[in-house]
């Protein structure tokens, strides 16, 4: 580790994610690579027209599990730094719902670490998504069909 860790490695954001701020915080002269992933709110899912999304979380456990995932990624891929922010609340089409960053000496670790984090967050963190459709209905999205951002 090239420097002390600053703040949390996983956050829940009720407001838009300040990507540039987070990138600035992750800057490190030991790093040769930053790989990021953004999940965006898409206008359709499973053939239905989506108007907006609503995320709700179980904060106490989501923060713990999210941090565990990021720490696992740092350990497993030898990352210098990693971070993930996930939105809560009501999001519009095109909004960034989740942002992942992995910083490493070389690109391979950064790509793999970034992929690991988003995959694990989707599987393990207690966050739920409700889709609001053009026809006025809304449904909680099951994992099998939860493809609205990825």
């Amino acid at each position: 580790m090239s420097r002390p860790r600053l703040g949390r490695t996983f956050v829940l954001n009720p407001d838009p994610i300040d990507i540039e701020m987070h990138k600035a915080e992750l800057r490190d002269t030991d790093a040769g690579a930053l790989c990021t992933f953004e999940g965006w709110v898409r206008n359709s899912n499973e053939g239905r027209e989506v108007r907006s999304l609503e995320y709700t979380a179980y904060p106490a456990l989501a923060l713990k599990e999210g941090e565990r995932i990021v720490e696992e990624a740092i350990e497993r891929f030898g990352l210098i730094e990693a971070f993930c922010a996930h939105r809560t609340g009501h999001l519009s089409l095109g909004d960034c719902a989740v942002w992942v960053a992995a910083v490493s000496g070389h690109r391979d670790e950064a790509f793999r670490g970034c992929r690991f984090i988003i995959d694990e967050v989707k599987a393990r963190v207690p966050i739920w998504k409700r889709e609001h459709y053009r026809d006025g209905t809304a449904e909680w999205v099951l994992p099998k069909t939860a493809a609205s951002t990825i």
């Binding site: 599990e65 996930h86 989707k122 207690p126 966050i127 099951l142 939860a146």
Partner: protein, 111 residues
């Protein structure tokens, strides 16, 4: 908490073995305890509230789930439901203790 079951409505429950459902009433087990339920997402919608204190004779988390699912019609693909106790993931067979805070977790949909 009522322990009456309606077999026509209840169906199978996640990780709940049927052997414990042998017709023996819960009141024959340990004494009643008080636990705090928190509900999120689908279960919050189905229950119609975010938190409540429940008196139960359930000995394990799965007994509590079966009891509340029957009482409140908390329905979901039972294979997919998991559980947290005191803000950590837990196993269905874990013992329930006085004052526990319990959350039933429907399948996650983050990302």
């Amino acid at each position: 908490m009522s322990t009456e079951r309606n077999a026509a409505e209840s169906g199978p429950v996640a990780g709940v073995d049927s052997t414990s459902d042998n017709g023996q009433p819960c009141s024959a087990g340990p004494s009643e305890k008080s636990v705090v339920m928190e509900y999120f997402a689908l279960f919050k919608e189905q229950r119609g509230l975010a938190t409540e204190t429940v008196s139960t004779t359930a000995r394990t988390l799965k007994e509590l789930y079966r009891e509340l699912a029957d009482a409140y019609g908390l329905r979901y693909d039972p294979e997919s439901v998991s559980v947290a106790r005191n803000d950590e993931f837990a196993a269905w067979d874990d013992r329930l203790s006085e004052g526990d805070r319990v959350v039933f977790l429907s399948p996650f949909g983050g990302g």
